[in-house]
Structures are given as C-alpha cells and as structure tokens.
C-alpha cells in the first residue's frame, strides 16, 4: 500500500470522518454520558442555536474588541519599549528585569488583579491581552535590534547614510520583519488574554459564555464555543499569514 503525500488531506479527512461516526455511534449506543461527552450532532445543534438566535454576535464583538485593542496597544507599546531599551542602555537596565519577570510567570494570573483594577468591563480584558502581547513584542524587538547585521549598518555608513537613513533603511525594516514574524503568536496571545479575562469576570464575550456553560453543566455548548474560538483564531491566523507574506515578500 502506498501513501501519496499529495493525498494527505484526504486521509486526514477520512480519519476525522471515521472518528466522528464512531463518536456519534458510541453516543447512540449509550456508551457516553451526554452530561460529559455530548455527541457531534448535539454539539452542532448548540452551535446552530448560538448563531440561529443571534445571541452570539454581541459576545463575539466583545471578545474581538478586547483582543484587537489589546493586540494593537501591545504591539505599539512593545515596539516602543523595545526600541528604547535597545538604543538607551539605562532604559534596558530598568526594563529588562521587569520584562524577564513578566515573561517568566504565566501572565494570565494577573487576570483577577486586572478585574479589581479595571472592572468587569472591557478594560480588564484589554489589559490582559495587552500584557500578554506587549511582553512578547518587547523581547522580539529588543533582541532583534541588538542583533541587526553589522554589515548592513556598515554598508549604509560607507554609502554616506546618516543616522536617520540607518533608522529608515535598516532598523525599521528589521523591526517590521521581526514583529510580523511573531504576529501569529501575538494574535494567539491577544485572544487568550481576552477569553481568559472574560472567563474570570465579565457580562459578555466568548469567555463569559464558556464560564456560563460551565456553571450550567452544558458540555455541548462548551465544546461548540471551543470550536468557535478555534475557527475565529484560525481565520485571524490566515489574515496574519497573508499580511506576513505580503509585507515580507523579500524574504
């Protein structure tokens, strides 16, 4: 039997279909307790219900807003601090230990604190997404700038370029490349921050729905939500990947 690599997706799809059928069959045969393990059709029904009644939209909106605002703020602040720290050594002395500490801890543990500081509204979710993203971007930019190719710097200097030219021709494109290279990680973190923030305390959002489903022991709804969040993040990954490909077409 031969396995043509071109047909990998067919085999993956077939395996997935078989799994679904077995799962569904086991549910029908009464081998699965629906309280813990709903069947695929039950999950699908919960999924359709979410969209059919339109209840999902305000929650999606809340999560997207928190994640994207946190992402944008995290990128801007992460780049700014990273550039400052790389160019001004005293700033690095102050910032680096703080960032290392923030990087070492699972930053989602800050979620309850942010709820106290910023309330159960959008603020605490944005803050969590922001802190998750900004630390990653900071290190990307900080280490990146210090590793800029000396040869490129010398080249610009021997061609008579000024410090401004150096910034425009070498440092900015390098920073853009590193940030774009880490964009997918940042997007993942932004949604993690938003959903976990909502999970801890909120009145809206996908994370809030999850915690609601948990409190009502609604496993089907939970799984539908997990699938939905996966789909959402995959779509955004796709967009980030396109952006990366377009802007880094030289690499």
């Amino acid at each position: 039997m031969t396995f043509d690599p071109k047909h990998t997706w067919i085999r993956q799809l077939a395996a997935f279909a078989i799994l679904l059928v077995l799962w569904e069959g086991a549910g029908y045969a009464g081998m699965l307790n629906p309280l813990y393990m709903p069947t695929p059709t039950q999950i699908w029904r919960a999924f359709v219900e979410l969209f059919g009644q339109g209840t999902i939209w305000p929650h999606m909106e809340a999560t997207f807003t928190a994640a994207l605002v946190g992402l944008a703020l995290g990128i801007v602040v992460g780049i700014s601090l990273g550039v400052l720290a790389a160019l001004i050594p005293p700033v690095a002395e102050l910032l680096e230990p703080v960032m290392l500490l923030l990087n070492a801890i699972p930053r989602v543990i800050l979620a309850p604190l942010f709820v106290i500081w910023f309330g159960i509204g959008l603020g605490s979710k944005v803050a969590l997404a922001f802190i998750l993203v900004s630390v990653v971007i900071f290190f990307t930019v900080f280490t990146g700038i210090r590793q800029v190719d000396r040869k490129l710097v010398e080249r610009i200097q021997t061609l008579g370029g000024s410090r401004i030219d150096l910034l425009r021709q070498v440092y900015l494109p390098s920073v853009a490349a590193w940030v774009l290279g880490n964009l997918k990680v940042a997007v993942g973190f932004a949604f993690t921050g938003a959903v976990v923030g909502e999970f801890v305390a909120a009145s809206r959002g996908l994370g809030y729905l999850l915690s609601f489903a948990q409190s009502t022991y609604n496993a089907a709804l939970m799984m539908a939500l997990v699938l939905l969040i996966m789909a959402v993040v995959l779509v955004i990954f796709g967009i980030a990947g396109r952006l990366e490909k377009r802007l880094l077409r030289w690499s």
């Binding site: 190719d149 040869k151 080249r155 200097q157 021997t158 061609l159 008579g160 030289w250 690499s251």
Partner: protein, 213 residues
C-alpha cells in the same frame, strides 16, 4: 564614512570623503530592498530625487549585465549577481578612490574572472584609483600598477613596493601571459615567504594607481 576611530597618528587624504567608495568581501545588500533600490541608496543619501536615483540605478545595473533584474530582491539573485549589484551600488556614487578589501574572494572562479575584468575596464575608463587588499598574488599583479607588500600584523607595515609594467588597458587573461608576469609573481612569492611564516597567512597589498593618468 569613518568605520573605526584612528588609534594614533593622523589620517590624510587627497580625496573628500564623498569621493571614496568602499567594497568589502561580504558586502551585504539590504534584503528588503530590490536590486534597483539597493543601487539607488547612496544616491538617495546624497539628496538625489528618488525617481532620478532609481533611473540612474537602472543604468548601472544594465552596465553590469543586470538589465531585467532590477525588481529582484537580493535573495533571488545569485552570488555573482549580488556582487555586481554591490559594485554598481558603490560605482553609482562615482568615487575617485575605491577601497576594496578582497571584494571577489567569495565568488567562484569563473564568475570571479568575469567580474574582475568588468571592474578593471570600468576603473580604466572612469579613471578611478583603487586600493585593493588581497591574499591572491596573481590577482594583485594582474589588476594593479603597483603592489605593496604588507608585513605580518599586528603593527603591519609596508615593506616593499613592486611596479607592474604590464600596459593598460588590460585583459586579465592576457596579462598573465605578459613576459613580466611570471618573474614578478616569483619574486613576490619568495619575498612574501621570507616575510611571514606560512602558517600565519600572508597579506599583500596592491594598488591600481591608474589615477594619475
């Protein structure tokens, strides 16, 4: 332009900084700029209008046989093509003095022969002075009007000067069959071996002093 602070003494030059071009062995092109944009860089730094700088860059690329490659990013150029872009980048600034540190060392033999010949012709036509540092004695003789032997570092100094009586314009292949070539090469070798022990690696400095013309 200054890459390093002088440790002692004074640095004098007949040329203003803007007349000096530099080519290193592993010159890096900006990977995020196309061949055209890379060549236009220096012109832009000098305040040339962007559109005009790009047009001038296209002309330089065409002179080095890179017409049609203007929009390629360095990643999509071969080693020899990248070297040509780097040379075009330096030449576009119309230097009067060109400092080269083993600029052809990273190229394979055939590409290297072609590019050296192109550079020789350009340098002869544009009357550019060249100071070339190389370990390759044949290259040193074939390219230059005078060869200086540099003693082993640290504190390396010029220990000898040799005139190269091969006439210009030069064809690098034919230069090697010039009657003066083999004797000079032999002399250089023996002096060099006396100067430094083999293991440490030798360095010869040579100079193409076409400038005076």
């Amino acid at each position: 332009m200054r890459l390093q602070k002088q440790l002692a003494g004074t640095v004098t030059s007949e040329f203003p900084q803007s007349d000096i071009g530099i080519l290193f062995q592993d010159d890096a092109l900006l990977p995020w700029r196309t061949a055209r944009e890379n060549v236009a860089l220096g012109l832009g730094f000098r305040g040339m209008d962007k559109q005009r700088a790009l047009e001038a860059a296209d002309e330089w690329l065409a002179r080095f046989g890179l017409a049609g490659f203007e929009d390629r990013y360095p990643r999509r150029l071969s080693g020899g093509q990248r070297k040509r872009v780097a040379i075009a980048q330096a030449m576009a600034l119309k230097p009067k003095l060109l400092l080269m540190d083993e600029p052809f060392a990273s190229l394979d033999a055939i590409v290297r022969a072609r590019i050296s010949q192109e550079v020789v012709e350009l340098v002869e036509r544009e009357k550019i002075s060249v100071l070339l540092v190389t370990h390759d004695l044949e290259e040193a003789i074939a390219l230059s009007d005078a060869v200086y032997l540099l003693s082993q570092g640290p504190r390396a100094r010029v220990t000898e000067r040799y005139n190269v009586p091969i006439p210009r314009p030069r064809d690098l292949v034919r230069a090697k069959s010039h009657p003066a070539f083999a004797p000079l090469l032999q002399k250089l070798w023996s002096d060099l071996l006396r100067e430094v022990d083999m293991s440490a690696g030798a360095e010869a400095v040579e100079r193409t002093a076409r400038a005076a013309a």
